[in-house]
Amino acid sequence: MNNQSLDPRVNRLKLNASGEAVTVQEGENWNVFEVFHQEKRGAHHEHVGCVHAPNAQLALIFAKEQFGRRKKCVNLWVVRSADILAFDAEDEDMFANNGEKTYRDASGFKVMEKINKFKKAAKES
């Protein structure tokens, strides 16, 4: 019996000092939920991490303190990690050429150049 702890809390626990093995069963730490944090109204919810919880209700309650206790937060979402659908890491190449497709980008259209050229030509004629 260990009653010599310097921690009065520990002395009240009545520790089992027998050295017997203690094991946690697989699944005892419940399921995993991804947590999304909204910093202010109007902002996106952003992924900040996850919590272990038996269901969504407790996941949200846990997320509130684990991810909302310090920084500004107005809302949170939780969703089971198992329900997240994502691309495979090696399929990153599908996104590779996006940057080159300038017809999707404002910079791909030189309107002012055309206007100036037109004006210049009109003036000269």
Binding site: R12, V51, Q57, F62, K64, E65, Q66
Partner: protein, 254 residues
């Protein structure tokens, strides 16, 4: 002008309850049943201690009270006005959860009513704490209702914790005699009996859905004494511990 002695008695009781409840709950920090819950429970313990601090500050600023640290940590046992309910050691998590459930619903109702208090400094405080306390009751309700529907052992533990806690919890509403009458007349708050009635309704609804039997009030012997300075055997050692460092040099700043 509201009677200072009476308002002091009310604030001291409220603050001492919050301080000791927060102190007890903080003992779980690092020892809880799972990390996520450990974090949540610790936050609520901090909130409770914060509520006590805020009340002692009101007493200092509005009622010529002493320094909050000295007052909270260094009084003699008989000058504390907390109820026995909060003094009891944590025991197992079922007891701590049930105490949290019963205590926090009472606190929620009390602060809600204090939003209309004629003692002006309580109004902004009650409004400020509203959100915190809402989370506390949400947390307590989720745990109580989920554990009560999670199999025989878990249900039995919660019922047994309720049976143990109920007479103690009635001590939260220990009648305050003449001082309480004055506060009711002055519209500081509607009094202990009124809070208790709302509380009983509230917890009965949640507990019955959860499948727990709330013991009848008439069969329960309320554990009183705290408000008059008579305490359980657990308070004195708690106070010695809480003030241990302070007392090594009361003149020093820590």
């Amino acid at each position: 002008m509201i009677n200072t002695t009476a308002i002091n008695a009310l604030l001291t009781a409220m603050a001492d309850d919050a301080l000791i409840q927060g102190h007890r709950n903080s003992e779980w920090t690092g020892l809880g049943p799972i990390m996520e819950e450990d974090i949540a429970f610790s936050s609520m313990a901090q909130d409770k201690i914060g509520h006590a601090w805020a009340l002692y500050k009101i007493m200092q600023e509005e009622l010529q009270g002493g320094d909050p640290d000295q007052f909270a940590f260094l009084r003699n046992e008989k000058d504390y006005k907390c109820c026995h309910f909060v003094e009891h050691p944590n025991g197992e998590y079922d007891f701590s959860l049930m105490r949290h459930f019963l205590f926090d619903h009472a606190e929620a109702i009390r602060y809600e009513l204090l939003q209309q208090s004629s003692f002006q400094p309580l109004q902004p405080l009650a409004k400020k704490l509203k959100g915190e306390i809402k989370y506390h009751t949400l947390h307590a309700n989720a745990w109580v209702s989920q554990l009560c529907r999670a199999g025989e052992e878990s249900h039995a533990r919660m019922q047994s914790a309720l049976n143990t806690c109920f007479p103690l919890a009635l001590g939260l509403f220990e009648p305050g005699g003449e001082a309480e009458e004055i506060l009711i007349a002055e519209k500081v708050y509607p009094g202990e009996k009124a809070i208790k009635e709302i509380w009983l309704d509230k917890i009965y609804n949640i507990l019955s859905v959860a499948g727990l039997n709330l013991p009848a009030e008439k069969d329960a012997e309320p554990v009183y004494g705290g408000r008059k300075g008579y305490h359980s055997i657990y308070l004195q050692p708690l106070l010695e511990e809480m003030g241990a460092v302070f007392r090594t040099d009361p003149a020093a700043i820590w």
